[in-house]
Symmetry: C2
Subunit: 202 residues, 2 copies
DNA sequence: GTGAAAAGATGACATTTGTCATATCATAAT
DNA sequence: ATTATGATATGACAAATGTCATCTTTTCAC
């Protein structure tokens, strides 16, 4: 019998999956949560064999939970279950040595299959991710540029951004200009949109 | 036996729900799709008693499918199943006289219950929506202002916005200025953020 | 049918942005 | 030791943006 914990903040999917997994003779869902903090607390107590974690959850990202599971030395294997194939998330997941990374864009039977494979020691990655990995869309922005862009994203004018980051207004505009040129756009809005699309900016 | 059709583009949820609904003795899923066009085609052929439609799907919105079902005079009852409580969507759904409007933020049992109620002629609306409706956080922007803001949101410069809407650049700036003053902000970015927060802008 | 909004326009002006050249200093890589 | 890169800054200039006053037409409610 494989014991499972499910952390997924979309109730419809959470409850549907829970019931579905329970139908399998060799699977048992010992608990579920719709936020990261609850998940982390309960996983420590229940020590399930496999934890299925959504990434985007209130309070704590699934990836953060994965990090903690690893840091705490639990034997719980982690399967990340998320909506989109985003490189940044996938990289973090790999770094946290998760056992599986599935997309919600695949049928529920894939999840069941993945659980069994993971318990046999295999790692299961959605093929889309691997492809995505190879087509390196790496963040061209430096840390400072990102900081400036993040301020700009708040809708603040140059002066305020400068004040917030203890820079001169000119420097801020330089950074923005550098950002635009790297991203091939011509104003803040476009830069922000692009950076968000690529998840360089949250 | 109630015949169902399920249109949902997130495969994990689609397959999980299909299997779950099939477990109920009085429910039968006659078909499912992950895009609006397929859904519409098959609903016409299969004429299910209830169609469960996601809103955001490729090719055709669930709401569009609902409109067509109504226009074609089918007896198929529609339950909209969507992620967020957005007033605009809800209003369209009510206008299309859908029988139910559920959020994915509710457990799957709610859906099953809703299906049975709908077949008894009841309408089922998520309570969050009704609350949202009453707390009239009414949009102070006119249709035209919204259109301008939507263009601005694409990151386009004034000229291009003007060209796209067949307006003069000056008019566009006037509209933006009017928007800022109504919203109490001083630039596009802030206006867009505020409008999105209030769901006046998608 | 009058009056109030809303849609649309123009022109002028001040401010904010975006671009560019150029410079210093620190650090990391070869 | 030299070179590249990143962080930081200035000054100058052009282009885009935001503000205001003012004007016309259409539409819709009373």
């Amino acid at each position: 019998m494989i014991t499972l914990y499910l952390a997924e903040d979309q109730s419809m999917l959470n409850s549907a999956l829970t019931q579905l997994l329970e139908l399998e003779d060799d699977l048992h869902v010992v608990g579920s949560a719709s936020d990261g903090v609850t998940a982390w607390t309960e996983i420590q107590q229940l020590q399930p064999q496999v934890a299925i974690l959504d990434i985007e959850m209130p309070a704590l990202l699934g990836l953060d939970v994965a990090d903690r599971i690893k840091a705490a030395g639990l034997t719980t294997k982690v399967i990340i279950l998320t909506t989109f194939a985003q490189k940044a998330y996938f990289e973090r997941a790999v770094a946290a040595q998760v056992a599986g990374y599935l997309l919600k864009d695949s049928p529920s039977d894939d999840l069941i299959e993945a659980i069994r494979k993971v318990m046999q020691g295999q790692t299961v990655y959605a093929p889309e991710l691997v492809v995505n990995m190879l087509s390196a869309n790496n963040n061209p922005l430096t840390e400072r540029e990102l900081a400036v862009l993040a301020e700009a994203d708040k809708g603040l004018p140059t002066k305020t951004i400068a004040a917030n980051l203890f820079l001169s207004a000119g420097t801020v505009r330089n950074y923005l200009s550098a950002i635009f040129s790297k991203l091939g756009v011509h104003n803040r809005l476009e830069a922000i949109k692009l950076a968000k699309q690529n998840k360089w900016l949250v």
